[in-house]
Structures are given as structure tokens and as C-alpha cells.
């Protein structure tokens, strides 16, 4: 399956990308996707420890299974307002 990962703020700046596509085996979870991302973009590795996950625009946990076409957003601690 294919998912899209969206990057914001410090992650986007570090990666130089706001979006990245990942191909993953069936039954992968968010945690599996993050492992793949660490390999593909090692520069992000140090910044993936305090993030939250939004799957298709709702917060969720890292053990959530993914489906083809999902949009997974990595949400660093927010600072709006």
C-alpha cells in the first residue's frame, strides 16, 4: 500500500520537504511507517521522539494500522496562538 506523510514546522525545514510518499507492506502500522521514514530521511531521526500523529486529520496512536491512501501527518508540539 501507499501512504502520504506530511511534515510541518521543524520537520519540514529539516527534511526540505512538506510531503513524502511511502510504500509499505500490508498491515503496517504508524510505527512501521515511522521506522521506514527514519531510514529514508535520517536527518529527521532526532526529531521523531516527541511528535504526535494525525491519521486523515485526526489524532491517533502509533499502533494504529494504516490503509492504502492514508494521509499520515507528523505533528510536532504545537505553538499556535
Amino acid at each position: 500500500m501507499h501512504i502520504t506523510i506530511r511534515l510541518f514546522a521543524n520537520l519540514r525545514d529539516r527534511a526540505g520537504l512538506s510531503e513524502i510518499g511511502l510504500d509499505l507492506p500490508e498491515k503496517s502500522t504508524i510505527a512501521h511507517a515511522i521506522e521506514q521514514l527514519r531510514l529514508r530521511l535520517p536527518t529527521l531521526a532526532d526529531h521523531l521522539n516527541h511528535i504526535a500523529f494525525a491519521l486523515n486529520r485526526s489524532y491517533t496512536q502509533s499502533n494504529t494500522p494504516l490503509q492504502d491512501g492514508d494521509e499520515l501527518a507528523l505533528i510536532p508540539p504545537v505553538s499556535g496562538g
Partner: protein, 148 residues
């Protein structure tokens, strides 16, 4: 769900304060509270002055989050009208990055609701700010849970 009584948006332009106050004005309101979030001058460790803020949103998520917050406020207080606007892009220090306006039958409701909304925005909504210093360098602000 009274959608015509809520004005909620994320805008790349200066926030329209006068229009927001007009929007919430109502013969059913006994008090209006407007909150404008601005940023203080500051120096960083290198002695550079804070020059501006850059705000970035995940708009497809942040806008529904703001709408959910508006509904949460309505479920707690009898709100007549409300406005929640957040600015994105470069914001000069003197200009507000966030605007909340609430009109309610009694004043304490408008105070409580507007404070609830700004506190929730700062805690949960998918928006980030980067401090831009006078030497052109930038620092993303990602508060750790213990420092919030």
C-alpha cells in the same frame, strides 16, 4: 448548529478586528470579549532582537479543530456569536496572530469561553510558530509537554 453565528478561519492576512466586533454584535448579547494574541519583544542568547513570527498551519486539520472548539464552547456556555481567526505566514510583532471574539448574554460567559478557546488553541491546534530574529535566523517553537 448555528453555523451562521460562528466565523472561523485561518487567514494569511492581517486579522479584521473591526469586522469581528461587528460580526458578534447582537441585541441578544450582554457582553462581548475580544482577545488579541500578540508577541512581545525579546532578545535571544546571541543578543538579536525578535523581528517577526512565521506561523504555519496544517489547515485541513487545524480548521476543523477550531470548528470543534467553537462547538465545545457552545456546549458549555450560551454563546450568541463567536469569531475565531488565526493568522499564518509572517506576522510583525505589533500585529495579532490570533483573534477570538465571543458575545454572550452575561459577561462572565464571554470571558470564560474566550479564555477556554485561546487555551485550547495553544494546547491542541495544528499550528506552529517560528521566531524570526533580526539576523534573519529562525527558531521553531515546539514546547515540550512539561514546559507548556
Amino acid at each position: 448548529m448555528e453555523l451562521m453565528d460562528d466565523w472561523i478561519d485561518i487567514l494569511p492576512t492581517p486579522l479584521p478586528t473591526t469586522e469581528a466586533l461587528l460580526f458578534v454584535s447582537s441585541p441578544n448579547s450582554g457582553g462581548i470579549v475580544l482577545f488579541l494574541g500578540t508577541t512581545r519583544t525579546e532578545k535571544n542568547a546571541q543578543g538579536h532582537d525578535l523581528a517577526a513570527l512565521d506561523y504555519e498551519a496544517y489547515p485541513e486539520m487545524a480548521l476543523p479543530q477550531l470548528q470543534t472548539l467553537a462547538q465545545a464552547a457552545r456546549s458549555q456556555w450560551p454563546i450568541v456569536k463567536q469569531v475565531i481567526l488565526h493568522r499564518t505566514g509572517r506576522v510583525p510583532l505589533s500585529e495579532p496572530s490570533v483573534l477570538i471574539a465571543v458575545a454572550s448574554p452575561h459577561r462572565h460567559e464571554a470571558f470564560a469561553a474566550s479564555r477556554f478557546i485561546i487555551d485550547a488553541i495553544k494546547a491542541d491546534v495544528a499550528i506552529w510558530k517560528k521566531e524570526i530574529w533580526s539576523d534573519g535566523s529562525g527558531t521553531w517553537i515546539h514546547p515540550m509537554p512539561s514546559t507548556k
